[in-house]
Amino acid sequence: MTRASELKRHPIRELSPFVAGLLTAATLFLYQILATNPAVVALRVSRLLAGREVAAERTIKEERRWIDEALPAVFVPTLSGSLPCIEKLETVAPALRAEIAQTLAPNRSRLQRLGDLYARNPESWLPGLVLGDVLLQEGRFAEADRVLSDTLRRPSTQASIRSILSAGDQATGGPPDEEVMAMIHLLHAVGYVRLTQNLAGPELWSALRTPISCSRLIGARRAEFAMPVPPWVELKIPAPGCAPTASSLSTYSLYVNLLVGYLANRDFIETEDRRMAAFSRPYRDPPEDNPMLAALRRVSEEWDPNREYLVWAISDAERLLRERLMNGQGLPRDPHLSLNLALLMDSVAEVCPTLAVRTLMEQRDGLAHSARAGRRQVPPRQRQMFDRGLARLEFIEASRRGRRIQVGWSDLALPPEQQEAFAAVEATLQVRSNLRDWAKVILEGGENDFRDKLGRRRIAWLAASRQDLTTLLAGLAANRQESERRDILRLARNFRKSGDPQIAGLSELDNVFDFTFDTPAMKGWPKALVSAVLAGVIAWLFTTWLTLQIRDYQETATSFYRLEIEERLRL
């Protein structure tokens, strides 16, 4: 005879512990499979992070290495070589003007005849400047350097420059405007050709700095309300005899070449006194308002002689930008200046105090925008170099913002190895532009095309992305409610792999009661199966125990005797 109370028991009740265990296991297995499914995880992550700033520091750093590889920072100087308007020159003898005008007609002996004129007229700056400009236009830089430097060294030229410098900003002193402009153009041409030829030395620095000093006289002579035009205002310096146009040389062109000079000569060193004088400031702007000043202060305090070139560049850029911004002029629109300043700011970001980085990046993006907008003003000879600079800016910005590249860069004509890095960063930016795609690629490793494009770079990029995303999620979980926090942390666990460094905030889930235990080595369905079996067994044990207790409770006051009698009566 069976125990009477058992006869009444429904079979499902008899099986309840097993069924409970099975249901728990199945539910958890399905949950785990779904919860760890790359598509589901990626979707959840994208929803969680939607509308938030995704700070992917490690990934950006990794991509920056590739950008440096594909598009190294090349600073673009302003071109020189615009010929004087011979006919309108007033300070040159008419005979010489006529002779030079005749030689400029395009024919085979043009350079030879200009050379003769240059040799026969050592007292005039005109033949030397014209010959130098023609040689520059024809790309004969070495010869242009020889002619231009020689002209600069002539006593008449030196006397003229001394006269300009001694006049300073006294409008009434110094030689006439035409001669001042001729000297500025001559110096600028020497500076440009030396930058192009990578020739450093005192002559270079003199050729880059002196025209800026000379331009003060022009500014004084164009004074309004008896005030000289300040250096932060762009002052056109057309070729001698010419009227100012949009493409004329300007004071900004002079600043650009000085900036490029610093950045291209990494061994640049000045004396202590000059440094003190150049880097000291009478004002103390807050870092959020003047990031370049904050960067200047930091690099001055943490002095490193190997980066003196950078400090000089920062110092000059800071002066120019501050004055413009303080006077409500906004960021400069000159494409060369904008491009070079933006490129400089990307380098400065590493040494900039954290507080100032945001403003620095805003200014940098504004400058990049100006550079893009003014691209058409760049002479065709420099267009490719300029485009590479723009592309670099675009890539760095896209990497920082996690968005895809919007402009096609097919005409950059990069060498194959640079093209490879270029394609890789283009592919990662495409993936990162969509949070869901990014998360999915991190989990799955990416499609074949993506793998091919990244090649050996893929492992490092995936590791950096994994860390960034887990850090982001851990940070996001920190301020949430307990259940939500654990849910987000579990989600973050999906992105971890064995060997990944520990992320703060994730380790709190390391306990046996968490079924999604931290086993980066075990993922996907094996993990789901193990978790499900574990949970199933625990559920079975618990339900069995609970059933037993309920039965015990009921049987405490049960009369088996009565039940058996009732059973017998029924039969």
């Binding site: 005879m1 069976t2 069995t544 049987e555 405490t556 006051a557 088996f560 005797y561 009565r562 009698i565």
Partner: protein, 326 residues
């Protein structure tokens, strides 16, 4: 197996018991005063057919276990994994263990048998003859009246054997030593204890002694086993028994049972179908006792609490027996 007779017979039985224990048999002890129906109770248990066979072999009669004898029924229980031995010791032998009944001290030799089985003891059944207990005032013996005391003493002994068991010969008697030790003891018996009010077929109409109602002459209550709640019955009518189990055992159950009904004179089987035996023994032999369980006293406390909240009077006064439903 059946061992009976002299001390040497018991020694032989002890040696065989040791062998069973060595082979991993679980031991279940059945106790009660002489004539409580222990042997019939075991014979009625039809599990596996073994006992029925034996019963049939012996001419469908169950002989009483003679004094100084030990019946043991061994059989493989359930799916062959469990090996179980029931020990049915003669009632007289148990009464010998209760020193106050005979006015003599117990010695180590008296408890030798209990000490041996205590190591593998997995359950304990005590058959209580209510007719003898309540009739003892008029016609019964001392033994009949002392059934509850005997049970309490046995539980105390088992508790001491399991969780202490040390005794050095000296001026302090073994009984005093056991008393003192158990009083300090916090551990209770962890095996199930089943208390059966035996011969339930003879109990209907048995008057409940008036003393249990504090001498209230207005209350005249007779027993009706099929309609009684055995837990409430023990709580109200046998408070010493209830308290003893609550003190010494973690898991206990009260119930009625009647075994084979035989003719008083001819021992002829009148009713071959026992009641309250199988279910009770199944409760005792349940393999789930190895699981951690909530002690019965807590369930009793929960029931009392629920009754208190529900303003139910059943824990204040013994309720009238229920009618049988068919």
């Amino acid at each position: 197996m059946r061992y009976e007779g002299t001390d040497s017979g018991i020694d032989s039985a002890t040696a065989q018991l040791e062998e069973f224990i060595r082979r991993g048999y679980e031991v279940y002890l059945v106790a009660g005063i002489p004539g409580a129906g222990k042997t019939q109770f075991l014979a009625s248990y039809s599990q596996g057919g073994f006992l029925l066979d034996r019963w049939a072999r012996e001419g469908r009669r169950v002989l009483p276990t003679s004094v100084e004898s030990l019946n043991s029924y061994s059989f493989v229980f359930e799916s062959g994994r469990r090996k179980i031995i029931f020990l049915d010791a003669a009632g007289e032998r148990f009464t010998l263990l209760y020193p106050r009944l005979h006015g003599r001290e117990i010695t180590e030799s008296h408890i030798k048998f209990l000490r041996l089985i205590s190591r593998r003891l997995k359950g304990f059944v005590f058959l209580l003859d209510l007719e003898s207990l309540w009739g003892a005032a008029g016609t019964g013996s001392h033994t009949d009246a002392a059934q509850i005391n005997i049970l309490s003493w046995l539980l105390e002994l088992l508790r001491w054997l399991l969780y202490d068991g040390k005794h050095e010969p000296g001026p302090i008697s073994l009984e005093t030593r056991i008393d003192a030790s158990v009083r300090r003891m916090r551990k209770r018996l962890r095996f199930p204890v089943l208390v059966l009010f035996s011969k339930a077929d003879l109990l209907p109409g048995l008057p409940v002694p008036n003393r249990v109602f504090q001498g209230d002459p207005e209350i005249h209550r007779t027993l009706y086993p099929p309609g009684e709640n055995p837990l409430l019955l023990a709580y109200h009518l046998l408070p010493e028994l209830f308290e003893s189990l609550r003190t010494h055992a973690n898991y206990f159950h009260f119930d009625f049972s009647h075994s084979l009904v035989t003719h008083r004179d001819t021992s002829e089987v009148i009713d071959a179908q026992p009641c309250g035996v199988d279910s009770s023994l199944r409760w005792l032999l349940d393999s789930s006792w190895r699981w951690p369980r909530i002690p019965t006293r807590y369930f009793v406390a929960i029931r009392r609490l629920i009754a208190m909240i529900a303003r139910n009077n059943r824990w204040r006064r013994l309720p009238a027996p229920d009618e049988l439903t068919s």
